[in-house]
């Protein structure tokens, strides 16, 4: 696998949210606004890229690998927790509104399956650079998934797209034109599950359609 494939596999082929269905709990909780999805995405990008790089670096030394191996999971947790705490402190200091908005889900990145999963499945067995690229791709794929869910939920739930702070797009005129009101349910937990199910169903349908097309082409030849 070259670096390009390694980077892009997280977008669709091995998307952590839509394919592996990992890290669902915080993902569904924070996707009430596009702004939250961007903030969570940035935090996960930082943590995942660095944790993959650091863990891979530690495991690349044969001597250190032997020492760490029996306690590798606690070591991963220490590294990930430290990175998450750094993100939390920096966000609290410089991005206070976002910090308040994401709330408990920032510290919960520590136990996000995507981070620990990539550390164990990829970073511990590959070179530091490859691991960092994998982390970036996976984090961007995760962010893309969060953006899709949050767009779906925010547009249908409130009729707006909150990009960052006061920068927002009001789509109220579409609802006015259709003479309907935004469906508030979509910003609530039940809306999160429904949105996720709709999106997952659409992706699966597209995948099946593509596979069928491919099979038909092969059988024609």
């Amino acid at each position: 696998m070259n670096q390009k494939e390694n980077f892009f596999k997280g977008f669709m082929k091995e998307n952590p949210l839509f394919v592996s269905v990992l890290g669902m709990c915080p993902s569904l909780a924070v996707t009430t606004k596009v702004e939250n999805a961007i903030g969570m995405g940035i935090a996960v990008f930082f943590v995942l890229t660095l944790s993959n790089f650091i863990i891979s670096l530690l495991m690349s030394s044969k001597r250190l690998r032997e020492l760490i191996k029996p306690v590798r999971i606690p070591v991963y947790i220490i590294v990930i927790a430290s990175l998450v705490t750094i993100v939390e402190m920096v966000m609290h200091a410089y991005l206070e509104p976002l910090y308040q908005s994401l709330g408990v889900f920032i510290p919960l990145i520590v136990v996000n399956c995507i981070i620990l999963g990539r550390a164990e499945a990829f970073a511990s067995q590959n070179k530091p650079l490859d691991s960092a690229v994998d982390g970036m791709g996976m984090a961007l794929g995760f962010t893309m998934a969060l953006l899709i869910i949050s767009l779906f939920r925010e547009i249908l739930g409130t009729g707006t797209i909150t990009i960052w702070g006061s920068l927002a797009i009001d789509l109220g005129f579409i609802f006015d034109f259709l003479k309907i009101t935004p469906i508030n349910m979509f910003v609530k937990p039940v809306g999160a599950f429904l949105s996720f199910a709709f999106i997952l169903a659409t992706i699966t349908a597209i995948k099946i359609h593509r596979d069928n097309k491919k099979t038909a082409e092969v059988s024609k030849q």
């Binding site: 020492l67 306690v71 220490i78 590294v79 750094i86 402190m89 200091a93 206070e96």
Partner: protein
């Protein structure tokens, strides 16, 4: 046994390294977080006072004090240069008709009441709203003098809630003597 010890030492060393790294980041972010929190408090407290805009938040250091009893919290706004207390804000509660009425009362260094606001209440809707319209005529008065005020004329139904508000001033008048050293 030896393996366990080595594993423990590995974990300990990782913990120490990460702890030091976090301490370093905290060293840079903690003052900014504190300043942000102070600014939020300052803005909230500033809404109580009418003549608060002429001074900047940087002039004050906010010292929060947890108290026991009806006056449960005090915020001392101290001048950063001289260390002198310029304003004290008291969070105080008294029993209303169905719930406690919580007020925030501001007093300056000369124990003059500089402002007040009703923070929360859960008394009968439609009746309790009256207390928001009443001018208690406490602003500009010596905080210890409010003890003379017994009642404000009002509709009978709202009297309990009003009485609770006045009681709040009474509690503060007792507390202010302790904090700012005046005589009753």
């Amino acid at each position: 046994m030896k393996k366990g010890l080595v594993s423990g030492l590995v974990l300990l060393s990782f913990g120490i390294v990460c702890g030091l790294l976090l301490a370093l980041v905290n060293h840079f972010t903690a003052p900014i977080i504190k300043a942000n929190e102070d600014r939020v408090k300052y803005e909230l407290l500033g809404t109580i006072l009418t003549d608060f805009d002429d001074r900047e938040v940087v002039d004050f250091e906010i010292v929060e004090l947890e108290l026991e009893g009806r006056v449960d919290k005090a915020y001392f706004l101290n001048d950063k240069d001289s260390g002198e207390t310029v304003y004290v804000f008291y969070s105080v509660s008294a029993t209303g008709w169905q719930s406690d009425i919580v007020m925030m009362i501001a007093v300056d260094q000369d124990m003059i009441v500089k402002g007040y606001t009703i923070v929360s209440e859960n008394d009968t809707a439609g009746v309790v709203e009256y207390i928001y319209t009443v001018d208690f005529q406490m602003e500009g008065r010596l905080a210890t003098d409010v003890i003379d005020v017994d009642e404000v004329s009002a509709a009978t139904t709202a009297k309990v809630s009003l009485g609770a508000c006045i009681q709040c001033f009474h509690y503060v008048s007792e507390r202010v003597v302790i904090d700012l050293g005046g005589d009753e």
